[in-house]
Assembly symmetry: C2
Homo-oligomer: 418 residues x 2
C-alpha cells in the first residue's frame, strides 16, 4: 500500500473508533491508562531495546547530545511516564459534564454538554515519552489520536503504540483509538494534514520550523504557538527584592523553554536602584544582557541592544533590557513585540496591576509571579498537551477540557417554533 492510502486508512479507522471512544465510561478509560503504566514497567527491557535501535542510528548520524537525551527512554524517563499516566487516570473525566443549563420562556431547558473533539492528529519531534503522554490525554478526553513523531524515534513509538493497543484491546476498547503512523516519510505528515473530513484538530509540538511547516500545509484547524517572547515589566515602586527573585527565576531557571523571560522592561523611576543589583545577579549566573541606551547609562558594561533583540526568542542565557518612561510605554512595547504567550508585571500599584491584566493581549498575564507558570500543570489544568497562542478554541495552555468542546442539549415537551 502506498503512503497516502495507508494514512487515509488510518484516519478512516480513527474516525470509526472515535464514535466508540467518545462513549467509553471513565472506568474503562482509566483501566486502559493504568494498564499502559503496568505494561511499561513489565516490558521495560523490550521497550528500551527498541529505543536502543533508534539511539544507535541517531548516534551514528552524529546527533547532538541534547537531541539524544530527549530521544532516550531511560529508567528515569519511563518512571516519569508511568507517574504521568497515573496522574492522568486520577484526573476527572471531562466528557459528559453539563457546564450550564437554563430555561427559556417557552419551557425549553437548554444546556451545554462537554463532548470530545473526535480525531486528533498529534505531530511532534523525536521525544518518545510524549507518545504516551499525548495518547493518554487524548484517550481520557474521549478522542481518538493519530500520532506522528519524529523520524528518529520510529522504533520506540511503534513499540509504545503496540503496548497501548494491547491495553485498549484488553479493556474491550478499539485499538484504533491510538495509532502511530508507521512511516518516517514527510509525505505521511502531508497526507495526514489533508484529512479534513476525518480529522478534527492538529496539534503540533516542537520547534518553530516544525510548527510553521504544519500550519502552512494543514487543511485541518491547527492549535499551536510558534514561540514565546515573554516580557516582565518592573513597575515604579515595586518590591525590588520580589522583582529580582521573580525576574531571575523567569530568565535563569530554565532558559530554553517558551515561558522563560526574553525581555525585561523597567520603569525609569525603578531603574537606578533596581538595575545594578539585578544585572549583577544575572551576570553572576552567566546571563548576557543586551540593553537600551538608558540601561547602558546605568550599566555601561552592557552590550547595546539592536532592534532585532526586541521580540527575539533567545531560548538561552541572553536577556534584552529596556528602561521605559511609564506603564503606557511598557504596554506599547509589549503590544508591538510580544508573541501573545506570557507577560508579567511586578508592582504594588492596584490600578496599574489591573490595567496590565486587562490590556495585555497574551494567553497568560501575571501580577507578581514568574512567567514560568504558563503551564497546564502549574495553572491547575492537571496536565498539558500544548499551548495555543491563536485566539480560537483555547487561548493558552490546553489540558483535558481544552481537548473537548460542548454541544447544546435541549429538553422539551413538544415545543415548536412559531
Amino acid at each position: 500500500m502506498d503512503i497516502p492510502d495507508m494514512v487515509r486508512n488510518l484516519a478512516v479507522e480513527a474516525r470509526a473508533a472515535a464514535r466508540q471512544v467518545g462513549n467509553l465510561s471513565r472506568a474503562v478509560k482509566d483501566r486502559v491508562i493504568l494498564r499502559v503504566a503496568e505494561l511499561l514497567e513489565e516490558r521495560r527491557t523490550a521497550i528500551q531495546a527498541e529505543n536502543r535501535r533508534d539511539l544507535d542510528a541517531a548516534v551514528a548520524q552524529n546527533y547532538p547530545a541534547a537531541f539524544l537525551d530527549r530521544l532516550t527512554l531511560s529508567d528515569k524517563t519511563i518512571g516519569s511516564m508511568i507517574k504521568g499516566l497515573q496522574e492522568v487516570a486520577a484526573l476527572p473525566d471531562p466528557v459528559g459534564a453539563v457546564t450550564g443549563m437554563w430555561v427559556r420562556p417557552n419551557g425549553l431547558k437548554v444546556g451545554r454538554q462537554r463532548i470530545p473533539l473526535g480525531v486528533i492528529g498529534f505531530i511532534y519531534e523525536s521525544r518518545p515519552n510524549v507518545t504516551v503522554d499525548a495518547a493518554a490525554l487524548c484517550l481520557k478526553s474521549g478522542n481518538a489520536v493519530i500520532l506522528k513523531g519524529g523520524k528518529e524515534s520510529i522504533h520506540s513509538n511503534m513499540a509504545l503504540t503496540e503496548l497501548m493497543q494491547e491495553a485498549l484491546s484488553e479493556a474491550g476498547a478499539p485499538q484504533a483509538a491510538v495509532q502511530v503512523i508507521p512511516s518516517i516519510a514527510r509525505e505521511a505528515t502531508l497526507e495526514l494534514l489533508k484529512q479534513d473530513e476525518l480529522v478534527d484538530l492538529i496539534i503540533p509540538r516542537g520547534g518553530e520550523g516544525l510548527i510553521r511547516f504544519v500550519a502552512e500545509h494543514s487543511r485541518i484547524p491547527v492549535l499551536k504557538h510558534y514561540k514565546g517572547v515573554c516580557h516582565i515589566f518592573v513597575d515604579a515602586g515595586a518590591d525590588l527584592t520580589m522583582a529580582e527573585t521573580v525576574c531571575f527565576n523567569a530568565k535563569v531557571q530554565r532558559p530554553g523553554v517558551c515561558n522563560a523571560m526574553e525581555t525585561m522592561l523597567v520603569h525609569e523611576q525603578a531603574a537606578a536602584e533596581f538595575l545594578p543589583r539585578m544585572l549583577a545577579r544575572f551576570r553572576a549566573a552567566g546571563v548576557e544582557i543586551r540593553g537600551c541606551p538608558r540601561t547602558r547609562e546605568i550599566a555601561p558594561e552592557v552590550v547595546p541592544a539592536n532592534e532585532a533583540d526586541w521580540g527575539f526568542e533567545f531560548l538561552d542565557l541572553i536577556l534584552a533590557v529596556k528602561v521605559v518612561p511609564d506603564l503606557d510605554a511598557a504596554l506599547d512595547h509589549i503590544a508591538r513585540y510580544s508573541s501573545n504567550h506570557t507577560e508579567a508585571i511586578i508592582t504594588r500599584d492596584y490600578g496599574r496591576a489591573q490595567r496590565f491584566l486587562k490590556e495585555v493581549d497574551s494567553s497568560v498575564v501575571l501580577v507578581n509571579a514568574s512567567t514560568r507558570f504558563n503551564d497546564g500543570g502549574e495553572l491547575g489544568l492537571g496536565a498539558e498537551i500544548g499551548i495555543n497562542t491563536s485566539k480560537l478554541h483555547a487561548f493558552g495552555p490546553m489540558g483535558l477540557e481544552e481537548l473537548t468542546t460542548t454541544k447544546f442539549i435541549v429538553y422539551g415537551d413538544g415545543q415548536i417554533r412559531t
Copy 2:
C-alpha cells in the same frame, strides 16, 4: 492603490483599532450601537436611495425575486435592523467577565477572563441588513470587523458603513472598528483570506458554494457550516400527537433554512399508526415524501427514496422518510448521514432520550422539540452571528460570548517556579 494593497491597509487599520475596541467600556459601545439605530431612522431616505442603485442594477441583470427581496432595505427591513440594534445594546457585555478563579497550592490565584478575539472578517451574500447586524455583534463583543458583502449590495453596504463610522467617531471610538471592503472584486476576498497575521477569524455566511470557496482559500481559521441535514427520530411509544406537531413544524414552518428537518426516521413499532396521519398532513401542506420500502408498504403512494435522498439538504417542501427497527439503527443512520447540525428525538422513554442526547454528535440535540430551535436567539444566546458545525471554538450557534475567548489572569505575591 491596487486591490491587495487596499485590503492589507484595511487589515492593518483593523488590527490597530482592535486594541482600542477591546478596551472600550460597555457604555461607549452601547452608545455607538444606539446611535447607529438613530441614524438609520434619520437617514432612511438617503440609505434607501443608495439601496435603490443596487436594486436597479440587480433588476437590470434579471436577478430572481427572492434575491431582490433579500437585497431590499424596505421600511420594514430597516425597522427590524433598528430593533436588532436596540436588542444588541441591551445584551450584557461579555468582555472582562471572569468565568472562574481558583487558588493553587502555592497561593497563586488563577482565573479565566473573557477577551475579544481581535479582528473578524465577515463574508456574506447580498443582504445589506446583515452588514449592520454583524457589525453590532462584533463591536459589542469588543472586536474590529472587516465586512465583505455580496457584490450586488456594494452601494448599500458602503452607505451603511459610513453611517456606522460616523457613530463611532461621535463616541470617540476608532472608525476602523467597522470597515467594509470597497470593492466588488473576488481578488479582494482572496486577499482578505491571506491576512493571517492581522485577522483572527473568518465567518462566512451564505450558500454552500460561498462557504466552500472561503474555506478552501483561507489561511485564517474559519467557523462555518456547509449545510444542515436535520433528522427527527420518532420513537416507539412516543406521543404521536406531539410527534406530528413537532415534525410538521420542523419541515413546513420555514423549509428553506438550515435547521429545517430533511429526513424523518420512524421506529417500526410506531410506523403503522403514525405514518398515515403524518403523511396525510404533509401531503395537505404540499410536502413531497420520498420513502424507504417499508414506508411505501404503509403508504404506497409515496415516491421511492434513492440513496442520494439520505443526507440530502432539500431546503424545500421535500422530506425523506425511513422506517428503522430500533434506536441503534436510527443512531447509525444519523452518524452516517447527518451534517452534525441538529437532530431531535420524540420519545417518552427516559433511557432512549438520554442515549440520543449522549450519542448524537450534532451541535444541537433535542428531545421532544423542533429542530427549528437551533438558533442563537431561540436557545437564549441573545443573538446569533452564525452556526458552526466544526468542533473547534464554538460548536453550534454563535452569539456574543462565542465572539470572545478567554485568557488566564494570575494574581501572585512573588511566586517563582522551583
